[in-house]
């Protein structure tokens, strides 16, 4: 049996990156994710890796772009305002089809906002936060263990699809300490990086670029990227279900709020209500089919988010007319994190309204 550690979510993500073979990290200090650069500034030099504290978030994402162009596994991390600055580089990486992992331990906004747990970056993360119309896979861990496991998964997805991949958490997940079993990196067959620059060495020139000016070139490029997103939707959706089989109300939420909702659903079950939890783990691709099935069986979905309503739009698109969708949100800010009891009250009300 593997050893068990007691670590913070942020450290777990950094450990997962190292286990995944990431030896290059570029970042900039920002709360509440600074444990990640701190950990890697200590560990990467021991592994002959490179750690750079960049001049800015923009500098860091472009260092990631450069390192990734060479075919190595590389990562950056930040929190919401810093992720905004990185969007330029993420768009260029999406356009040039460069792998790379970006961790967003998000905070509250808009603007300087605050450092409290928040899910206000959902739209920015899943709808293509930069210019030009693209998507990147977005993974939403809800535990320290998942911070570790999903970071490794993010590197595999990045290499498999030649795309930046984002891990979206918040201070609840990043700062929380719990048990971690540091599993070995999963074995997955990945394509050769025949596109990476290396110095042409007498062979064909390789160019990593996102500028396409030839007649029809960019249109074809965009359709090819679109086709890639469709494959991701087919193959890469991950979700978790709890007590959904006979549920007449499905509660859904991602990341930190799903942890709270899980407790609330368990309490509702104790009260005899047939309630289940559907947790999307991939936010892009969104687990549309699995959610539509569960929602269709139940007839009603309650979406819970730490914002004024973002993922709820994807839930509505997913379930269509198959189920009624209602929403409960707590926008971020000090003291705004709902308790299980608060969510239980909401569940009771929504359950009473329709199910009983």
């Amino acid at each position: 049996m593997s050893k068990r550690l007691f670590v913070k979510g942020n450290e777990a993500a950094a450990m997962g990156a190292v286990e995944a073979g990431c030896r290059y990290y570029f970042g900039y200090p920002i709360t509440p994710q600074s444990d990640i650069p701190e950990y890697l500034s200590r560990e990467l030099p021991k592994l002959n890796g490179e750690f750079i504290q960049a001049e800015s978030e923009i500098g860091a994402i472009n260092m990631l772009l450069g390192a990734s162009s060479c075919g190595v596994r590389a990562m950056t991390s930040s929190s919401s305002p810093g992720i905004s600055l990185k969007q330029e580089g993420i768009s260029y990486m999406a356009g040039a089809e460069l792998p790379g992992v970006i961790i967003n331990i998000s905070r509250s906004g808009p603007g300087l906002g605050g450092i409290d747990a928040s899910q206000s970056d959902y739209f920015q993360s899943v709808k293509g936060g930069g210019h030009g119309g693209y998507h990147i896979p977005v993974l939403a861990p809800n535990s320290v263990q998942e911070m570790y496991d999903l970071t490794m998964h993010a590197f595999d997805l990045a290499d498999l699809y030649r795309t930046p991949v984002m891990l979206l958490g918040d201070s609840v997940i990043g700062q929380m300490k719990e048990a971690l079993v540091p599993n070995a990196r999963p074995v997955r067959e990945l394509p050769e990086k025949g596109w990476a620059v290396r110095g042409k060495s007498g062979a064909e020139q390789r160019v990593v670029k996102s500028l396409f000016l030839g007649d029809g070139e960019l249109e074809a490029h965009n359709w090819r990227l679109h086709a890639k997103y469709q494959v991701m939707k087919e193959k890469e959706c991950i979700s978790e279900e709890y007590e959904t089989a006979d549920a007449r109300l499905i509660v859904t939420g991602f990341g930190s709020v799903a942890r709270i909702a899980h407790t609330a659903v368990a309490m509702a079950r104790e009260e005899g209500m047939k309630v289940g939890l559907f947790r999307p783990v991939t936010l892009f691709p969104f687990p549309e089919k699995a959610l539509a099935e569960a929602a269709g069986r139940a007839g009603k979905v309650l979406v819970v988010e730490l914002n004024t309503g973002q993922m709820v739009e994807d839930v509505r698109l997913s379930v269509g007319a198959a189920a009624q969708v209602c929403f409960y949100g707590r926008p971020p800010g000090a003291g705004s994190l709902p308790s299980p009891e608060e969510l239980l009250d909401v569940i009771r009300k929504q359950y009473d309204d329709t199910a009983r």
Binding site: G59, L65, G66, G71, A96, K200, G202, K209
Partner: protein
Amino acid sequence: MQQVFKRPQSLKDVQTHFCPGCHHGTIHRLVADAMDLYGVQDKTIGVASVGCSVFLYGYFDIDVVEAPHGRAPAVATGVKRAKPDNFVFTYQGDGDLAAIGTAEIIHAANRGEDITVVFVNNTTYGMTGGQMAPTTLVGQKTSTSPYGRDKSKDGSPIRMAELMAQLGGVAYSARVAVDSPKHVLEAKKVMREAFGYQAEGKGFSFVEVLSSCPTNWGMNPLKANARIGEEMIPYFPLGIFKKEEA
């Protein structure tokens, strides 16, 4: 018969898209000459920036990464850290390097990244149609300084080669011009020296090249060429501002 002049091996045998009288072609040739001298074509990774020079992968027969506007020194940092045995250079214009990319160039230089930066200063934004650049001379009319650059509102042109020389991580910083055979020969020597610093692992090297932009200056190639000596060199003096002996 002895061949005394030929295309550098690192350049492709193609025509460029540059305007008549533009100096990019000459500067490309000088960069290729330096690559050939050290025999590094096969292990060079160039970083292209946004502007007229973005197409350098069409002219240099080397691996290239395209950087967002101004970010070439950060991209080159990532490349060089991942591939320390490769030869890495950026090729950037004045809008790219001295305006939107100021943070990236200063910090890559200050870290002493072992890369070479070729900085083409033509006192204007070329590709976007001749707007005011950080290097535009006081009084110079451009499409966004129609009354001439006003020092009290727009500030003074930035002398990047001198600025670079102040930074601890910089091993070599120089300014050259390519407006006359004499200056081209001097520029060739400087370019070789700058690339030599990287070839020998001596640290960050920077070459500013004064260049003409006849199209956006509204001049014919000969007049534009003459402007370099008449107006630019008096403000942007040629010379080597830092040369660290390793």
